[in-house]
């Protein structure tokens, strides 16, 4: 019954998307664990982790598409929420190292030992306990988004002004986290993780499990986003995007809708960050770089804004391109390719991959229908 309710909320695109996720959910573990290493069908563990990383970006893109594509809030600071989620889980992973750090201190992470910390800062309390850390994955970005959004939306900061202050937000956080005195490891960030929930983060099994968790998180995020945008609240969001003040005159408290979707999106971004960190093995303040957040916007644009599925695909495509281009003799020139991709996408495919393809199919169908009509006329 529930599955039916879920399916009812999906369009064709969504069903295929979930179908692909489901297929991957089955196929990747099988191809990784059961198919022998020599076989051409074997999926090596590094590829599993790499795909896991892409999927985290896909969740992040989905989060951004929810606020930008459906509510018109162009956040240039979503990387901040992603990084906060990552730090929350990173702090848990640091605490899990325990006495296995190079200095052997059972409580303090290595960087604190050599910065002469005598005791754990208060904000590190509780992070040795996974459920608390998991809660913080959502709460830390959620609370930041709530406080920020509360002020910004109430004051009706919109458009580029909002975009620029979200950028200021992530920039300020980057500077703050770079400070060693903040107690988050400064530039080196958090790294050299050992265990997650008692399993080695390096073990192939853990990597696979993280990949599967990320796939499930992507599916859940997609379903959540889909549920939001197909609800009446989702229609209000689109209304806000297209005619904000009209929506207000209808009696909707626009700032609350914005706040809701902004916080929800920030939490999704936090989740993405939390899954990302154990898979890449490091979290550092450069995740707060304004450039990173802008890139997320670009993934969404490449895939197709306001389509959800497009955002996820855009994230995967762009990062795949990055991986591919950054190896080999052409490596020094890959930025040309990436830059050109962004320029050409905006010029030639303003609706992104998904939108353009859909439009093209639409046109072809019309043409075919016309041709069919034309073919039918002589028979008259």
């Amino acid at each position: 019954m529930i599955s039916q309710a879920i399916l009812a909320r999906l369009d064709g695109r969504g069903r295929i998307f979930l179908g692909v996720i489901l297929a991957a959910l089955v196929a990747v573990p099988v191809l990784n664990m059961l198919v022998p290493v020599g076989s051409p069908f074997h999926v090596p563990t590094w590829l599993v982790s790499l795909m896991g990383k892409y999927l985290c970006f896909a969740i992040l893109a989905l989060a951004l598409d929810l606020v930008w594509g459906y509510c018109g809030i162009l956040s240039l600071g979503h990387g901040a929420f992603f990084a906060l989620g990552g730090y929350a889980i990173g702090m848990y992973l640091m605490r899990q190292i325990g006495p296995r750090g190079v200095y052997g201190n059972p409580i303090l992470p290595d960087f604190m030992v050599f910065l002469n910390y005598k005791e754990l800062p208060w904000f590190w309390y509780g992070f040795d306990f996974f459920p608390f850390a998991a809660l913080m994955v959502f709460l830390a970005p959620g609370i930041l988004a709530f406080v920020f959004g509360w002020f910004a939306f109430r004051s009706r900061v919109t458009g580029v002004y909002l975009s620029i202050i979200t950028q200021a937000l992530t920039y300020a956080l980057m500077l703050a986290f770079f400070r060693n005195d903040m107690g988050f490891g400064g530039n080196n960030g958090l790294t050299d993780f050992k265990d997650i929930l008692g399993f080695s983060v390096q073990a192939p099994g853990t990597r696979l499990a993280l990949f599967v968790a990320t796939l499930l998180a992507l599916a859940a995020s997609y379903l959540f986003a889909r549920a939001v945008v197909t609800s009446k609240a989702g229609k209000v969001l689109v209304a806000v995007r297209d005619a904000e003040s009209r929506t207000r005159f209808l009696g909707f408290r626009v700032e609350r809708y914005k706040l809701f979707v902004f916080v929800a999106s920030a939490m999704m971004a936090g989740l993405a960050g939390a899954l990302y960190v154990p898979q890449v093995g490091i979290i550092n303040p450069s995740e707060f770089q304004p450039g990173n957040s802008i890139e997320v916007v670009i993934w969404v644009a490449v895939g197709g804004r306001g389509t959800l599925v497009g955002a996820a695909i855009g994230a995967i495509l762009v990062n795949l391109a990055k991986t591919t281009f950054t190896t080999g003799a052409l490596a020094p020139y890959w930025l040309f390719a990436l830059g050109a991709l962004f320029v050409l996408t905006t010029l030639l495919m303003p609706k992104g991959v998904i939108g353009t393809y859909a439009a093209w199919r639409e046109k072809r169908r019309e043409k075919l229908a016309l041709a069919a009509n034309a073919a039918a006329t002589p028979a008259e």
Binding site: S231, K232, D242, A243, R246, R248, L250, R253
Partner: protein, 250 residues
């Protein structure tokens, strides 16, 4: 909540607002009785739209009282509060949600709980569907129910917006130039519709089209330079020499 201070549905007194030194509204006084329909006329820049902005909370007056329903001070509230009190507004340039279907436009406007989590878990109901159908029939857009509002003609958008006002079921409707860009037939139909609405709502219409105002046959207020120049039946007002000078005479 507050003590009822007037019998008027809408009471404006001594309202002034200035933009960068320019007095858009200057000591304006205006009252509307419950159930009344009023037409507001005046040349460009007379302050008609600004007055609506003040009533609907978009612009805060520098000075003066704006009291709704005898007791509510509108200057302290924002647009959403005021809309939820029962003041609906139709804009000069038709503004509908272009990316939504006609039906969704009406549904969004439909009087209901506007809170985030209720809309999130909102479910369709027979009662609601029935209301939507009735409104679509009234504004004659039943056949375009599934069409995107962006694809409507100008006149159809005007009507859709009026439909949205109806769906809101407000106590007071502020209607800004409802027939701009309409054909004669459409204008006539609109006048008819407004009169219909005025039976159980108070309506404030801003219009340039004299024929249309005449058609409405209601009390007219003439605004000029942000203040009331004359008030009364159209015939009386149009005989006023000051009015002729600043507005009609041109």
């Amino acid at each position: 909540m507050n003590q009822r201070v007037t019998d008027y549905l809408l009471y404006l007194d001594g309202v002034s607002v200035a933009f960068d030194g320019f007095k858009a509204i200057n000591s304006l006084a205006l009252t509307i009785m419950p159930g009344e329909m009023r037409a507001i006329i005046g040349p460009n820049g007379a302050g008609k739209t600004t007055m609506m902005d003040i009533i609907t909370g978009k612009t805060k007056p520098d000075d003066g009282d704006v009291i709704f329903n005898g007791s509510v001070d509108l200057t302290q509230l924002d647009e959403a509060d005021i809309a939820n009190l029962g003041i609906g507004r139709k804009f000069q340039k038709p503004t509908v949600f272009e990316m939504h279907t006609v039906e969704d436009n009406i549904r969004l406007a439909l009087k209901a709980d506007r809170r985030v989590f209720t809309t999130l878990f909102w479910k369709d109901s027979a009662g609601e569907r029935e209301k939507v159908n009735r409104i679509l029939a009234t504004i004659r857009l039943e056949h375009l129910r599934e069409a995107n509002a962006a694809n409507l003609s100008h006149g159809q958008k005007q009507w859709l917006e009026i439909g949205m006002l109806l769906a809101q079921d407000p106590k007071l409707l502020l209607v800004d130039e409802p027939v701009a860009g309409m054909t004669d037939a459409e204008t006539e139909a609109t006048a008819h519709l407004l009169k219909e609405i005025a039976r159980d709502h108070s309506v404030l219409v801003v219009e340039h089209d004299m024929a249309f105002v005449r058609e409405l046959g209601v009390k007219v207020t003439v605004l000029h330079e942000g203040a009331v120049l004359a008030e009364g039946p159209l015939d009386v007002v149009s005989a006023n020499s000051r009015v002729i000078e600043v507005y009609l005479g041109r």
